[in-house]
Symmetry: C3
Subunit: 387 residues, 3 copies
């Protein structure tokens, strides 16, 4: 269990944190959302809730009901129907503006790999009153390169150019190899022979509209991105039903982590739950590995402090980074930032209160995890510059 | 850690829960139990405790010592010898009646696959003042069909008939494929060729008294049961030393879960510990998957709230179900129900107290997990009907 | 989370525990340590901390800063630089003496497999005012035997003699098969043919200075040690970047555990984190398996109580043993013993306070885990004898 009994000592004071870097998130849905549309973003499932159940009855659902209604003028934990009605009344744009501006996020580092019907990084940042940065999804780049390429050579050249072109504007890359294959891939860069054969297969199949899932190509993407030395985010742990959880354990990346180490490319292990202790271990033993808490804290809700404590067991505090992994709903930025801020506050207050942590260092560590580590890693300017 | 310091705010008030559905349990031992016999049910081990140690020195042992002596007129935490003497004095039947009637269980959903020397579902329910329902163990059905069959065709026909016959009276099926092989089996239904060959091997070997462990046959059983669309309970996670823990991770079922999804058969992942977060994830992303907390809460004792909180991180609250998995000892029904009820009460009080959960919804969620979800899933009548 | 809110009820009273058996530790560094040298022992990494980060910013770093400065006359949580200066002023020897004598450890059970630049068990025990015992590392024995052997027969004979000779003085053996290969090895003792071929390969390669990593030889070592019936410590779970975490899961040992059971050799699963629940399960179901908490509690620091609670979920209390796995720094004995003692005190006080544990039994269980289980298992004399 992760929660002391009794009354809440970690109240929402007037001062919510004013400087969070959300180092991994997505855009919000543009169009008006009906109830089914709203609920589809409140789960990692690809289907409606089972008969007799609702996604509102979950830690994430309760977290959204806790923090969002007051930001739209309703009481906390009001009935879902009342909240959805108020949301519809305000419209997506005004709802988004109100919710995003209450998060304390100053920098949005946006994965643009899933863009259908979502706001751009610039639109998102404008709505939230923050600054936009881009993370480029490798598989999306490759699928676009495949659409344009007439030959294996054209594909490989176009991809190389696209990755290095993206590196000039983006602050990092992202791989979803966990979804497309699993993290149990051969750690070495593919040789020219196997690579050429894999590209040929891709180009022959592309008119079928299939997604890139060949481990040879996924490895080539990872190694190409590593060549830019920009931080490389890797999806690990839970996600939607496309993945096999046990093949998303970041520990499976160990040999790749060792192999890529000489390139100097930092690796950011996203999410990782329920293997977040494994991710923290990797961040502990490898200087170029970092650990994320996004998605995980949002979904674990009332237990977020317990889960964050587990990440902080082995991960050096200079290696852990806040994110929301929010997607589609502005509510998810609120839930993610509130759950993170309060979980970290609860932990540091408890540990300082017990004497385990130095009181003077606690705010410094909190600032590292909330924004400092990400600013250092992605080379983002300090918060003041965005005001 | 799962426990707030200080005095116990989750006391046994006068009103223990009066409506629990134990959706997975077994019968109690008929004969009088000596100390060795009693202790053999207080562990998942297949051997006496190591020299110098006792199974009473465990979370389950302490839980039994906490709750059971007062129900037999002794002080809580009295010495084990005093408890066993009192138990012998009362006899198995009276002990069972007193203990079972203090659990709050109204419905016993009994796995009849292990029946040697145990009470029947009807006897159990009569002793406990509740209602009996049956879960049929697939491997037991198949082993019985093999005893009677003279040919492959007879076996397959007899099995088909047995499964569909059982489906008319039982409320669900159970598979112990985790014990017999591991959950890393081929997810597809076996083709006629491999099935026929496997049946031939079984029939040729059956006089050796061997248990069914061929993954081809285990898969055939799962798919046959799925055809009935009754809930299918699958053992996952820890158990006795027959299993290999890492091959009992429910995440290994992912491809089977996807394959069986179109049949509409609900899958109930039993126990799951220490992979209960994985089971909760599967219940989150797949509409037809449910998560159980039985066995796990009994054995983790003083930490039951911490473990239950982990299940509730990702599992939708409409998908989690109480059970005891009690087996042999009526004490295990008491420990399982008390640990569950108090853990859930501790969590919901803490979360409501912190503002994380809506106070008005907490009793509703508690009722879903304690009985409502199981009533909906297994089609059981409401509690009132049993009064 | 693992910590109740509010003030610290588990204070350092005058009476720190006076009887701990550290059943798995190493020597301390002999030479004076500069800052880089000190920091290299404060992590399992093989490299300096990433730019902009420091290993002091970790749970272990904070634990060292909490408990060690007061023992050297400085305030708790003083700045690292002040602590290192004070340490240099006192010198390694005096620092070691002061720190070790504050641990409450009466018996040091020392793995002598890593000895370069470290104190011997006798020197360590003398500095700490305790008694020395030796654990012999199997791979080190074998590598020494290979240096001396001119033939396969000489190697095997010399090894057999070395193991049985060591068994006369040592209290147990240790295997680092997890580092050298992973725990997913064939459980059976190697046959003469594969063993001979493996020895031939080893002897042919030995001038290359390579470490023993052939799974055939690692298995032979395990089985040879099992023949002595002394306790056999096996590294499981996390460690330095040489290992692959997912191949160090103790559950992978299940078939070896079953195979070795008839020999009567007790197996001690070291560390195990983040698979400590798996190790606890194995200690639960197999009478000859024991679980360690060393390294794990030191590194998880402020969360040590949460992690220890997880070990105690399934492990019988007569099977869990304290250790520090301290290596190089006397500070690690302090951190390990303080974290263990306070975590256990926090848990038992909480559980007794809630009524979950019998008050009368709690001190007995604490003594078992702190020293009694290790004394029984390794055949060590009682604490009084060392006074």
């Amino acid at each position: 269990m992760g929660n002391p009994a009794g009354t809440e000592p970690y109240g929402d004071g007037p001062a919510e944190p004013a400087d969070l870097v959300d180092h991994h998130c997505h855009g919000v849905a543009r169009g008006p959302l009906d109830e089914a549309g709203f609920l589809s973003y409140l789960t990692e499932s690809d289907a409606p809730a089972a008969d007799g159940t609702t996604f509102f009855d979950s830690q994430l659902g309760f977290a959204v009901r806790r923090w969002c209604p007051p930001l739209l003028g309703l009481p906390a934990h009001c009935a879902p129907a009342a909240y959805l009605a108020r949301r519809a009344e305000l419209g997506e744009e005004e709802t988004g503006r109100r919710l995003l501006r209450a998060t304390g996020i100053t920098d949005y580092v946006v994965d643009t790999g899933l863009a259908d019907g979502l706001t751009t990084p610039e639109e998102l940042a404008a709505a939230g009153g923050g600054r936009a940065h881009e993370i480029v999804r490798l598989e999306t780049l490759a699928e676009r390169a495949a659409e344009k390429a007439g030959s294996s050579g054209e594909f490989l050249g176009g991809l190389q150019e696209a990755v290095h072109g993206a590196a000039r504007a983006a602050v990092g890359f992202k791989s979803v190899a966990a979804y497309r294959h699993g993290l149990d891939f051969d750690p070495a860069p593919p040789g020219p022979g196997e690579l050429g054969a894999a590209v040929d297969r891709l180009l022959a199949a592309r008119d079928a509209g299939r997604r890139l899932h060949d481990p040879v190509l996924l490895r080539h993407l990872l190694w190409t991105a590593a060549g830019t030395a920009l931080p490389l985010q890797i999806h690990t742990g839970f996600g939607d039903p496309d993945l096999r959880l046990h093949r998303s354990d970041p520990a499976l990346l160990t040999d790749f982590i060792k192999a890529v180490r000489p390139t100097g490319c930092p690796l950011v292990l996203l999410h990782a739950y329920p293997y977040h202790r494994n991710a923290a271990y990797l961040a502990h033993v490898f200087p170029h590995v970092y650990a994320d808490v996004g998605l995980t804290l949002s979904y674990t809700g009332a237990s977020a402090a317990a889960v964050l404590a587990e990440v902080l067991e082995l991960a050096p505090f200079g290696k852990v980074m806040f994110s929301t992994d929010a997607y589609g709903l502005p509510e998810l930025y609120v839930a993610g930032s509130r759950l993170f801020t309060r979980a970290l506050r609860q932990l540091t207050r408890t540990w300082v209160g017990e004497g385990a942590w130095p009181a003077a260092d606690a705010p410094r560590i909190a600032a590292l995890i909330g924004s400092g580590n990400a600013r250092r890693l992605y080379g983002l300017p300090a918060a003041e510059a965005s005001a």
